[in-house]
Amino acid sequence: MTPKVSLRGVNKSFGANTVLHDLTLDVSAGEVVSFIGASGSGKTTLLRCVNLLEQIDDGAVLLDGDEISAVGRDPNPIRRRVGIVFQSFNLFPHMSVLRNITLALTKVLGLSSGDADTRAAELLARFGLAEKASVYPDQLSGGQQQRVAIIRALAMQPEVLLLDEITSALDPELVGEVLDVVRELKGSGITLLIATHEMAFAREISDRVCFLHAGSVAEVGAPSQIFSEPQDERTQQFLRRVRSH
């Protein structure tokens, strides 16, 4: 079967700094893959290459076998199918929660504002934020803001959702509510690519875990294998360091 997302020998540099180095990985439809690795190992850049916020230098990114990284391709239709949630939420501060969610529904998908409102209200209710629809982002807790950001991405009904360290900017007591949202998404058919520092969560939610080292896949496998019997020496070192904290 054609992989949902396929990275083939992807290279990406910022100036002289090679961030992704000949990175190759296939992700199947509906699969949940977590990316772990040291800070600077390229997790964020990898995710940004998948929804074309970064242009790769070499190699190819494929979505359903279609080369979306080809030079000159219009990124907008692809971004409708591949959503992303950022570490720093990035809600639009000048818009209410509802409008944050409906903006792209009306302007990109062309929904009527009534339909967009209905879709947004349903999602807000499903994730316990119904009463926050008319509130502005700065009146929400970090956990609530991140849940709205996830809803904003989900409302587009993407086939693939990229989650970039979505709990790293949160106070510890707010992490749980955000991870609960992700737990609910698993098994809904959506393909999830998750960059995370939450090892326990990666182990629990992932079908496969991918350890990135210096911009390449050092080791990839089932969570139990990666966390209990890591084969690569760099994975072992990384896990030792993480666990000693």
């Binding site: 916020l53 239709p77 409708r80 959503g83 000048h94 792209a104 990109v108 998908l109």
Partner: protein, 251 residues
Amino acid sequence: MVLVAVVLLVPRMPRWDRVKKSFFDVDQMRDSFPRLIDAFWLDVKIFAWTTPAIFVLALLIALARNSRSPALFPLRALAAAYTDVMRGVPVILWIYLVGFGVPGLGLERPYNSPLLWGSVALGMTYSGYVAEVFRAGIDSVHESQRAAARSLGLSSAQTMRFVVLPQAVRRVVPPLLNDLVSLQKDVALVSLIGPIEILRQAGIDKAKFANFTPYVVAALIFLAVTIPLTRLTDYLWQRERRRTSGTRVAA
């Protein structure tokens, strides 16, 4: 403090009586005031028609300067050159150059009016300043806001219109008002090429009655407009500062 000193000390100056008569003549004030207010109406009109033109032009220039497509390089260069040239020459010189120069080309009435071209000169220069204010505002919107908008599939134009500009404009309201206060005063410069607005009317009155009081009245009329505007600007600055610079340290 300074004000108190001035009020107390100035009347003791040896030639105060003479100054008082030629600058603060109450009868003269009464006589000139209606004419000056009438003439001020022209300042208000020039202000009213240049302001929207300035904002539109400035926004277009700022957008051109902030364009990112490599193909639009010439547009960016042109916009940068425009702001540099407009801001690099004193307003008054542009008013002379355009206000005398263009009608001098032999245009037909009404297209040869110094009033028209003086206003155009004012609009040109101010759009250079205001464009820079807009540009600073656009630059101040964090890149992650664009990333969020683009990641949802919005085009770069939609991102600018719905996400970047609304935030940018909100942040630059105070400096924009500042520029408007300056514009409100610089409108008087158009008088130097002919139109009888308040400054020129004051000059006429001064010559006619050999008395400087009309200038004082003109100054007071300007203050009546600019001080409220300045206060409003200050208030908005403070509010913006409170919003963006965190909790204030006591004393």
